[in-house]
Symmetry: D3
Amino acid sequence: MTANTHIPAKTPDQSETVMTEMVLPNDTNNLGNLMGGNLLHWMDICSAITAGKHANTIAVTAAVDNVSFQHPIYGGAIVTLKSRVTRAFRTSMEVAIEVYTETMESQEKVLTNTAFYTFVALGPEGKPVPVPPIQPANPGDRERYDAALRRRELRLILAGRKSPKDAPALQALFGAVQP
Amino acid sequence: MTANTHIPAKTPDQSETVMTEMVLPNDTNNLGNLMGGNLLHWMDICSAITAGKHANTIAVTAAVDNVSFQHPIYGGAIVTLKSRVTRAFRTSMEVAIEVYTETMESQEKVLTNTAFYTFVALGPEGKPVPVPPIQPANPGDRERYDAALRRRELRLILAGRKSPKDAPALQALFGAVQP
Amino acid sequence: MTANTHIPAKTPDQSETVMTEMVLPNDTNNLGNLMGGNLLHWMDICSAITAGKHANTIAVTAAVDNVSFQHPIYGGAIVTLKSRVTRAFRTSMEVAIEVYTETMESQEKVLTNTAFYTFVALGPEGKPVPVPPIQPANPGDRERYDAALRRRELRLILAGRKSPKDAPALQALFGAVQP
Amino acid sequence: MTANTHIPAKTPDQSETVMTEMVLPNDTNNLGNLMGGNLLHWMDICSAITAGKHANTIAVTAAVDNVSFQHPIYGGAIVTLKSRVTRAFRTSMEVAIEVYTETMESQEKVLTNTAFYTFVALGPEGKPVPVPPIQPANPGDRERYDAALRRRELRLILAGRKSPKDAPALQALFGAVQP
Amino acid sequence: MTANTHIPAKTPDQSETVMTEMVLPNDTNNLGNLMGGNLLHWMDICSAITAGKHANTIAVTAAVDNVSFQHPIYGGAIVTLKSRVTRAFRTSMEVAIEVYTETMESQEKVLTNTAFYTFVALGPEGKPVPVPPIQPANPGDRERYDAALRRRELRLILAGRKSPKDAPALQALFGAVQP
Amino acid sequence: MTANTHIPAKTPDQSETVMTEMVLPNDTNNLGNLMGGNLLHWMDICSAITAGKHANTIAVTAAVDNVSFQHPIYGGAIVTLKSRVTRAFRTSMEVAIEVYTETMESQEKVLTNTAFYTFVALGPEGKPVPVPPIQPANPGDRERYDAALRRRELRLILAGRKSPKDAPALQALFGAVQP
């Protein structure tokens, strides 16, 4: 669970990935808007590239969390996905994805979706391999780095692999409001 | 946020959906296993059908949470997705999906993935419309129904639309371990 | 051509497969209805899973017969495919598929299509291998089991691999009306 | 059921369609051969073009029969589909498809598949419209024209819309071998 | 750069390829017309088949030039691609593609697109291998054969691999108008 | 042919588009490398976004030129496409695309492909509409801006819509080497 301090750290910038797509009829639901599943697929590819670049090896999806769809994305819209590693653990990494949508007419980018994907790095035999630690490069990175630990605790609790009483970061969050 | 008590309730059985797929080369990543993004896409379609059947109208993805990938799914495997509504709110529903994988040789179904997708029901003008409440049909449904509220609080807190101090279900969970 | 009496029989229930799909823009013809070829593709996957589960090994399509399209299937409709083995021969199996269509609004399932797909089971070297016999589990299975023999005779006659005079089941059917 | 004698007849040549494809990884099953469902999809498109050209309007799939898969089609193979109208009825047409396969190395075309697809012509309001009769152009066409009637009788009997005793073409075929 | 005079020549007829497609919703842009990228993909497959048949081995795309889109191609249209080798060099070949479009209603074929694709033939180890020379079969072939040399000079100049002063065919074209 | 001096000019930066993709089995040819046609499709989408952003309206492909494939792109590679408007004419724009390829292991970006796509901007009725002129922002842009005119002359000559003697830019290029 601890980061691999013996591997030189990398910054999120080094594996940031930008993917731009246009919503074609092929990608839409029966209302003519981008189908949720297609966006989930694009986000998976974009963040898998980020994870693979950070780990210098192929990385496979281990978890997906907190995907929000705040606005419909209309047919013809331009969709820009940006993914950055928030934190690296021993063989896994969390990647944050932001999705911005604009029309050709307005070109005002609106944040329509965010998500966190977790990947495991695999070596040549398909076994998990250690990944470089992350060195946050700016305050936003630092905040995402800290929050990544809470999300990880939550994932483990929800998966039944950790007890709430072993989750100090979450206790601090909710304990602060206890009488 | 409260369920629509004026609409007759439905049970999760009434909209349960089963989707079976075979992992074809088309669906794989560069290790020959099912690509995460393809499974996310299948889960989106399967759970959108469940939500649409519960709501009696088209439903669009609003959130995706706690998607776990516990085992690789090999090329040629048979994948069975089962989706059930866990709880209905005013215009939204949470759907739980379980993914079972088996090979043609062994035919032992292994639970490889679970996820929660939230949908919003849309009326003819594309505006959110009220959905029937859920009447849990068995203890498993009841447990998922209760947990759905905690997941919803968590989603709202993470989206910054609710304060941790207004989340009694989560406080109870983490407060229980406070000194 | 005779079933493999030395292999323990299986019932159609053991390999029944249910696949649910939603008709997306991606799947439609230029009238906005489900394209015939897409449904044929779904039926092929669904029945290949049934055949593979019955045979405990991969099975490849050998013949397709009597596919009927009785009603158009509109965009947005929910399509449920059910496939069951009707009869097993030495290395081949016939699978019956029924396709039911409903809208999210009405949720009345209408039988829109039926078809028979024949598969050959292949072993590790890609050679045909024997498959378990079928033990019909109910009157409907029994009827399909008997009719499967007539369809098989017909396939062989139409393929020029059998003479009409060696087809007793078909002779009985048409001979009954001879003067 | 009778052809539309008031519409000028057309020959099969006038709507013959040739489609050539290469089997890409995208099209294969888990043995690396062309997936049956993909070929069914290609045949549907190829024969729908033939039917549409004969009818001068869009035509939708009504039935598929006697699809045979005689040889596996390997990845990388070149697949040539040829479709011709065999016979036109009032608003429907039967189309015969032949599929030839060759490798780039040998370039020996082998007949690997045959099938019969039936289409219904639809007018601007989506209602069936009359189609031109077929004028067979050579002995092969003539033979397929005659056999089309037997296949049609068989389709109607199998669909329960005709009794075997009203099928003179089939009675002749099987009656010839009666004692 | 010189053709392989030691290999028996072939005519363009021997590898001509015809591919017919129908424009389905799946293939369209947000105006409902055939998306440029989909046509480029179809042209790539059609001309790769021609090149592979001429070379008797797999051929991969090396260059694409002079693709023109003269008219929009509407949804529902029938698109016919024809590809022929124009000239063979040592290990590469140029293929000319013509795209004709018609509607089911009018069936007047209009030339909507032309393009030149260049392929390199690859042997079993993935290395370039010599290809047969081309023997033009008619005046049109002969004209395309001559022009292919000018296009090749132009490709090499534009790629910075040849100086304009070493391009006699192009000098003749433009020099003719010098004062 | 002249730029629209009455519309405020834009720089290439304002519509530059970056698209990152990973080569999945789905995208490969029978050698396991990226299929040429898939890359042509990705380049079409990437450059159509650039053209649409420059024109503030949908833009459709009018021509594709000088697409070079200098190296095979292996399965699993990361592909980065960058597209920039080089020059705007009255209702059309030329877009240059550069494709860089890297592996997860090495992460050395290699320029594997370049291409020029020309688009026409369409207004609400599907008719060509004027587009803003381009203001080159740096020496590289300036060079591409000048060369765009020569490529345009060449496209018009090759399309038979211009005589070589009316192409001063190309005459200068080839005339310089006349004796």
